[in-house]
């Protein structure tokens, strides 16, 4: 890539990170509003200008090293604001939701398996963390267990999901998330509507609820969770990226676009649907467990249909199937309602209108998924 393009792309990346930092950290209404406008302009810019397209191509087609942008950006923000508990919590929340939404993207964006029960699987992960929390198991194992249990419970739905299509499949998962919450609320073995306390994570002997102190550097303990979520997100982001750019990715796409045609060419449609559903749920479950540990508490009202819709809103607003887009969209959906606290009772209304406007002017999401190709791999 010629130097000029590289410089332009770096500039765009930098601007993106700065805008993200402003939205996550700032408490000034006008600053945030301006940053949001800037972000929207950036989205148009990336879609419409050639420098923007170069940048998008860079994100999409470079080698795996490009994923380093995520830790780089996050660490820059995290370290710069290492004492801001709330900002760091928002940052960690964004990372966790991004992780979950990458799971949803594997399901819906790639294989076309619709999942309105994201919040339920997120919840399963969380409850697993709550139940296993005081068994003394290592936290990382608990996180993994959260993912596996979510996937296992998801397996109840495999048969119905395989048999149905479109709106019918949507109903299956909608029914499941409603059922899940309703069940948790009336059944008291898992704390009922009251919810459960969750042990915080302890990794390598370090309790994550203790802030880091190194010499004069003192950081909020939320920085620990930012780091944990960041590691998880980076790993799974990379894996999901590999998945997309692989033979499996092509299979998943063909399963989504034309299952009958795919089957005739030997594609095992049911198998790939199951794989994507299970993999997705693992990610969502791990995210849920991480979230529960960070929040220290979970209750059924965290895991509603509305919550599922918000998760789906992240992948739709970002651009279905685009992994990168998940992160800015998660910032929009997770952080903005929090930032609107100053207008208290009007915030949901304003948020709804904001989403409507974004969709109205970017009907395919902020950053639609670019087509996969292997130009770099074959040396073109």
């Amino acid at each position: 890539m010629p130097a000029r393009k590289l410089i332009a792309s770096s500039a765009i990346a930098l601007v993106s990170i700065v805008l993200a930092a402003i939205i996550v950290v700032s408490e000034e209404q006008w600053v945030i509003a301006a940053a949001l406008v800037g972000a929207l302009a950036l989205s148009f810019g990336i879609a419409k200008t050639s420098a923007g397209q170069d940048f998008a191509a860079l994100l999409q087609n470079s080698g795996p090293w490009i994923a380093l942008l995520i830790p780089a950006g996050t660490l820059a923000i995290g370290l710069a604001f290492h004492e801001e508990h709330f900002a760091l919590m928002m940052l960690a929340t964004v990372l966790i939701y991004s992780l979950a939404c990458i799971g949803l993207n594997i399901q819906f964006g790639y294989a076309g398996v619709i999942n309105f029960a994201g919040a339920a699987f997120f919840g399963v992960g969380g409850y697993t963390a709550a139940v296993l929390g005081n068994t003394g198991l290592p936290s990382l194992l608990i996180l993994l267990a959260g993912g596996l249990v979510a996937a296992a419970i998801g397996c109840i739905l495999i048969l119905p999901v395989l048999r149905t299509k479109g709106h019918y499949a949507a109903l299956i998962t909608i029914a499941f998330v409603l059922l899940f919450r309703s069940f948790l609320e009336v059944n008291h073995t898992l704390g009922g509507p009251q919810g459960l306390r969750v042990e915080g994570a302890t990794i390598a002997g370090q309790e994550l609820f203790m802030g880091i102190e190194i010499g004069s550097f003192e950081a909020s303990f939320y920085l620990n969770y930012v780091l944990l979520a960041l590691v998880l997100l980076t790993i799974f982001f990379l894996l999901a990226r590999f998945l997309e750019k692989s033979w499996i990715g092509i299979n998943l796409d063909s399963v989504r676009e034309d299952p009958i045609g795919a089957a005739v060419f030997g594609v095992n449609v049911a198998y790939w649907r199951i794989v994507s559903f299970v993999l997705g749920n693992v990610l969502i479950g791990i995210a849920g467990a991480t979230f529960a540990m960070m929040q220290n508490f979970i209750a059924p009202s965290n895991f509603t249909f509305q919550q599922s819709l918000l998760m789906l809103a992240i992948i739709v607003l970002g651009g279905i199937g685009n992994l990168w887009a998940v992160i800015p969209a998660a910032i929009l959906v997770v952080v903005v309602p929090e930032k609107l606290q100053a207008i208290s009772e009007y915030r949901i209304l304003v948020f709804a209108i904001l989403v409507v406007l974004v969709l109205r002017f970017r009907p395919n999401g902020l950053f639609p998924r670019p087509m996969r190709h292997f130009r770099r791999e074959v040396g073109q």
Binding site: I250, S254, E257, I260, F265, G266
Partner: protein
């Protein structure tokens, strides 16, 4: 010559409609069968039945003597049957390469481990496959091969048709089913296209083809043997000349008498 494919008394119904009615058909290795018949006579349905998309209510379909009736499409594909569709079925949002390479299911590494963790090997296999797909596309059209990483929706109908055939050919099937490959092409284009298909086949002399066509020039040129359907039954068969001479075919199908 050995018998590759055999349909015995195959029957298919859609509600009250008998779409295939005790149809029997044999294909020797390395031959090309022309399948013709009036609209709605069951030709496409026959292909759908062979590839496992339609349920039979009677009869059997055999490949190499093995009964494949009722198997799932992907299992039938694994036995070397591939096809094109009358109405093209390609993934419009994917690239040309993706659309064709999907046809190589059997030789792709589809394990999670291989795809996620052995990236170097994956890149190598991309190169190999790219070479193969590119070579095949080039046989049909150089400009098309140059557009291997273009999204499919930017291509015109004839290029799409070519890609469908390439997808079906890429895995070197033993039995290739072509459903009206030349529809919508000018005679010139048709001629060239069929020439390309025959060229590929000449490298695989044991490949058999069943081709559905309404274009008699094509049938005359490529088919070793012609089968005529009407109302799901075989009403005539033989060499092209013999079939065309059949009075029923002349009257009801060709409309020439």
């Amino acid at each position: 010559m050995t018998k590759l494919f055999e349909a015995e008394n195959v029957s298919v119904r859609f509600g009250g409609l008998q779409a295939l009615d005790g149809l029997s058909l044999e294909v020797e290795e390395g031959t090309i069968i022309g399948l013709i018949g009036p609209n709605g006579s069951g030709k496409t349905t026959f292909f759908n039945t062979v590839t496992g998309l339609c349920r039979t209510v009677g009869g059997r379909v055999l490949i190499d003597g093995e009964n494949i009736t009722g198997l799932q499409p992907r299992h039938i594909y694994q036995r070397g049957v591939s096809r094109t569709f009358q109405r093209s079925r390609l993934c419009l949002s994917l690239s040309v390469f993706d659309n064709v390479v999907i046809g190589r299911q059997n030789s792709l590494d589809l394990t999670l481990f291989g795809n996620l963790f052995r990236r170097r090997r994956f890149v190598e296999s991309v190169r190999e496959n790219h070479e193969q797909v590119h070579a095949l596309l080039s046989t049909f059209s150089e400009p098309l091969a140059a557009r291997i990483f273009d999204p499919l929706h930017r291509l015109n109908m004839i290029d799409r048709r070519r890609i469908e055939v390439c997808r079906a050919l890429i895995a070197n099937p033993r039995l290739l089913l072509l459903d009206e490959p030349s529809a919508g092409m000018t005679p010139d284009e048709t001629h060239e296209f069929m020439g390309d298909i025959l060229k590929v086949r000449s490298d695989h002399p044991r490949m058999s083809i069943i081709i559905i066509e309404h274009e008699m020039d094509v049938i005359q040129r490529v088919a070793d043997h012609v089968v005529v359907l009407n109302f799901g039954k075989k009403v005539a068969e033989g060499t092209f000349d013999a079939v065309v001479a059949n009075p029923w075919v002349q009257e009801a199908y060709l409309g020439t008498s």
